[in-house]
């Protein structure tokens, strides 16, 4: 076989410009990294880097401001939609998005997110659902599956006592102000491609001034799930997908004609 010289080849994929070229603090195989990559790719492809402001939350992604190569602010636990509202209303020319975990967005921040969707704030929310509180050591979150063992539900989540996991996409889709609500998953190549398209549509929603957009991304937490990264993606597919069906929960008519 003739040796290939990369100088004569075309680049099919390279590190996105909007990601800083440094090693992250995320555990090996954590899909937070995939979500970061997809957001950076979409911002690059839409040419938005110079006018984007991210809002980091509290959780493993608290440090996401270190990794995106555009402006970022950091908010208290659950308050990212409120901070994003302030940023967007004072600088409506900017593209403003929050990046939140499930513990952040639908536990301590549940009131904030429902209010932001209800107001139809013209912001975008990237919501990582890994079914636990990753940063603090894998405690039960509102999204923890029935029967799932966590450090604070060592015998498995008992729905008689702690209720059922909250379906954030279904919930937010009921809000009049919401224009684009979708759930996707990061467990395999096909679903990662679909997730990127949804992130693109969410930012298109904001660029067009259509109101609130949110993409829920089903994610792995190999460390607190006590699994290898590959087994964690299989567990996500087998256990999380049936409870959290992927799909479009709300799509503004202006978006349904868009080809991305």
């Amino acid at each position: 076989m003739v040796a290939l010289d990369i100088k004569d080849m075309e680049i099919v994929y390279r590190h996105p410009d909007s990601l800083v070229d440094i090693s992250t603090h995320y555990c090996p195989g954590c899909t937070h990294g995939i979500a970061h990559r997809l957001v950076a790719e979409v911002i690059d492809e839409m040419g938005l880097a110079k006018r984007t402001i991210g809002v980091a939350s509290v959780g493993c992604s608290a440090f996401s401001y270190n990794y995106f190569d555009f402006d970022f602010v950091q908010s208290p636990h659950g308050r990212a939609p409120a901070m994003a509202t302030g940023v967007k209303r004072s600088r409506p020319d900017r593209i403003v998005f929050t990046y939140q975990g499930d513990g952040d967005m639908i536990s301590i921040g549940a009131g904030e997110i429902i209010a932001a969707a209800g107001r139809g704030e013209n912001i975008t929310v990237i919501f990582l659902n890994n079914a636990n509180y990753g940063m603090t050591g894998g405690q039960m979150a509102p999204t923890t599956l029935p029967g799932m063992k966590t450090t604070s539900s060592p015998n498995g989540r008992d729905v008689e006592q702690t209720g059922y996991p909250i379906l954030a996409s279904e919930l937010l889709a009921t809000q009049q102000g919401a224009s684009y609500i979708a759930r996707r998953s990061l467990h395999d190549p096909k679903n990662i491609r679909m997730a990127k398209k949804a992130i693109r549509l969410a930012f298109e929603t904001q660029v067009r001034g259509l109101g609130f957009s949110m993409v829920e991304l089903l994610s792995t937490c190999p460390t607190n799930w006590h699994m290898t990264p590959a087994n964690a993606t299989k567990w996500l597919e087998e256990k999380m997908l049936p409870y959290y069906p992927i799909g479009d929960y709300k799509v503004h008519p202006e978006l349904s004609e868009l080809k991305v």
Binding site: L4, E10, Y13, S23, G29, G33, D188, P189, P229
Partner: protein, 77 residues
Amino acid sequence: MPLRGTIVVDENLCKACELCVEACPQHVIGLNAEIITPRGFHPAHLIKDECTGCGICALVCPEAAITVYREKRGAQG
């Protein structure tokens, strides 16, 4: 004959999670036990020639560590 490709893994970024190893349809990626990265991992590398430059490894890589190259169409000899 399919187009041929190759990958370059950034050893400062790779964390040896093996998601690319699992996902590669050609089964041409493995971890390189000969190298230890600055963060203490055995990085991913090509172990066989049959890479097609499909880009699937880069799609699943959480570290954006992989650059994928492919022969230009028509360049096959």
